[in-house]
Amino acid sequence: MRHNPTAKWLALVGLIVMACGGLFYALSIRHDLYGAIAAGVGLLLVLVAALMAREAVGAFFARRSARLGLGSGVAILAVLALVLFLGALATRHHLRWDFSQGSSYTLSAQTVQVLKGLKKPVKAYAFFKDAQAGRAQAAEELEKYAYVSRQFTYQMVNPDHQPTLAKSLGVRNYGTVVLVSGGKDERVQLPEEQELTNALIRLGRTEKKKVYFLTGHGEPSLDGVGKEDLSSFRKALEASNYEVKSLMLVTSSQVPPDAAVVIVAGPEQTLRPQETLRLAAYQAKGGAVLLLLDPDSDAGLASWLDKRGVVIGQDIIIDQAARLAGLSPLVPVISEYGFHEITKVLSGTICFFPQARSVRMSPKPPAGVKGEELVKSSPASWATNYKEFLAWYQAQVDKIKQNQEQQKSIELKPGPKDTKGPISLGVAVSIEGKAPDQGKAPSPARLVVFGDADFVNNEFLDLGGNHDLVMNSVSWLAKDDDLVSIRAKKKTSQPLLLQPAQERLLFWIPLVVWPLVVAVIGAVMILRRRRGR
């Protein structure tokens, strides 16, 4: 083919295209058809090249070496194809044995069952910075899932490189894993087996749980886009596969039985007695309530809460630490979390509670009530009487206005009657057995109370850990019964402390003595051989 350079190049390109196509086809990376088409096009190119240079080709094949060479070439191609085929086969159908310490690469039976039952493909996007702590562990965990089911695939994404993907999946923090399947998605903050498997279960659900917002007491609007409104919160709930509805409890005989959670967010007026009775009846049947109460109104629920072991303060929290964060001292900064399912992924993040009141567990809760304080303000904060503070604050503002001292800010100091921080701002309670108001509770009722409603409004929801805090609260309240609990693998360490003598031994023998011994043996062997000659 020396005479025809075009044919030569054509043949070369054809061979490459054919090889790539064949490879793709064998491994079925893309749609099988593409590989086959590419291989066909390659073959065609080679044939065209052969036709263009048919004389040279004919002369070439007349030689004996060419015929032998061709035989060899065909054999090589056949073996190559066989190897690729067997390799692809071995990749698709494989067995694995786990000989690691504590079988740490084997997923629990529950997870395997969930994975085997996947009907639709699930893709996991893990958002980590390139060298972030926990990235390797997350990849390893996801790899275990991908290993069990071909329906499960994953991708490690650096959100700094792909901000649009991160944004479209609503990722706020590094270290988030989003599972996507059939237009639905689920977020996991802690990529461990229990969390991932539960996210898979939630993804597979067909029916949506219903969340009702109580209305009729001046609560902020669910649809409004103003700073004070809750449309972001509603959207976040819908993104997590909840159906959001509003509930006018005055005009309905009871809380709808399909309510997974009833949310009372920032009521300004007092609830009517029949409303609290209906809420209590709902709780008695194991219902879940999320109460968000601003300092200016307790909606007449103080005694209702008292019966459930929760004490709300008629106070407001002032936090000097907030000033350091560039915020008003009326926005307490929260960085201390209780040990609870709701807050376990929040350590290291900060939540902001604009104008909050204290909420704590009663020192002697009624029988059957178990509670946990979720969030606490900083030690630099204190709680002061709300009404007195309001009057004093207004007077200060008026004074500044009168004197036209624009620059001067109001000096805040804890008074002698004030309670010093840290102060609890939220509790999670489960009420078992006999409900305090009436009848028997079939399953434990759940109740989460925060001393603030503003932290979930459009202005503050996306700030710090606020979003995660309230979403975790809702999912804890919604009590996903079909979710599994997988005990984390026991992490055992094998410490090895070396004595100085042992350390010397481990240095000298492997690093010096043993190579020297081998060198001497080698020298002796070679010298003996030379002398023997």
């Binding site: 032998l68 190559l80 190897v83 990749t91 067995l95 690469y105 481990l506 492997p510 060198a519 080698g522």
Partner: protein
């Protein structure tokens, strides 16, 4: 079989009568001894911290010591193997002894297999010689023997694949230097090609991982035995032995 044994013995003797095997062996031992000592010192330091703060991390011998020893051993072998195999066929071609060898009533397969197993035996000796480190450590710590056996089994398979590959590069050329260099570069590429997987689109990434020596090796130090990896190494060794035989055979009809 007799022909194979004859070649095997001849090559093995040649190794231990020339300085190359010893030089590689001594260097391999010294470097892996250094990695071992550095690993153990670090482990001991980390142990101290973990004992003070058990929640910090899970520290176990397999993941934080053995796996690293085996992985660094694999990287040293990447450099060492082409040096051990470079002369196997290239030298015979250069000195013309290959004609002599081919004129004997030996099949090409027995020549290639004899040379392959001789070189593989030498790399196996390299690997086994490092067990002095484990023997020293065994009385001081409770070693997890099952994953250790899997790790070193993987290292032996990997060394077989490296020997088969660089035997083939040795069959391609008359120059030992070219054979070693080619073998080393291509092995390095095959070792690392899987690293690119996260950077390219997922389907291509799967292909790169499927071809990579490193990606198929990484399960062994974890204590995992996967039939995919076993099949990969067996097919890899088989393919390059076959290619070596074919290249050797080509000498007959090209001449």
């Amino acid at each position: 079989m007799r022909a194979f044994l004859a070649i095997y013995k001849r090559e093995l003797k040649a190794y231990f009568h020339s300085p190359v095997a010893y030089v590689v062996l001594v260097c391999f031992l010294a470097i892996s001894g250094y990695f071992f000592y550095a690993g153990v010192s670090f482990y001991s330091l980390a142990s101290l911290q973990v004992m003070q703060n058990p929640m910090m991390m899970e520290l176990n011998l397999q993941t934080h010591l053995i796996a690293q020893m085996v992985s660094s051993g694999a990287v040293i072998l990447l450099f060492g193997t082409p040096l051990l195999t470079m002369r196997l066929l290239a030298e015979e071609k250069k000195s013309g002894t290959i004609e002599l060898l081919l004129s004997y009533p030996l099949s090409d397969a027995s020549v290639v297999l004899g040379k392959f197993f001789a070189a593989w035996s030498v790399t196996a000796i390299l690997v086994i010689a490092t067990w002095v480190q484990l023997a020293l450590l065994a009385p001081m710590a409770d070693l997890p023997w099952r994953p250790i056996m899997v790790s070193y089994g993987g290292l032996l398979l990997l060394s077989g694949a490296m020997v088969a590959f660089s035997l083939w590069t040795s069959s391609l050329t008359e120059s030992q230097l070219v054979a070693a260099f080619l073998g080393f570069l291509a092995l390095l590429l095959l070792w690392a090609v899987g690293w690119a997987a996260p950077l390219v689109q997922p389907s291509l990434g799967e292909l790169l991982k499927g071809l990579s020596l490193g990606s198929h090796f990484e399960n062994f130090p974890k204590g995992l035995v996967d039939t995919t990896d076993l099949a990969y190494f067996v097919l890899f060794i088989g393919l390059f032995l076959f290619l070596s035989i074919r290249t050797l055979e080509a000498k007959r009809w090209k001449a």
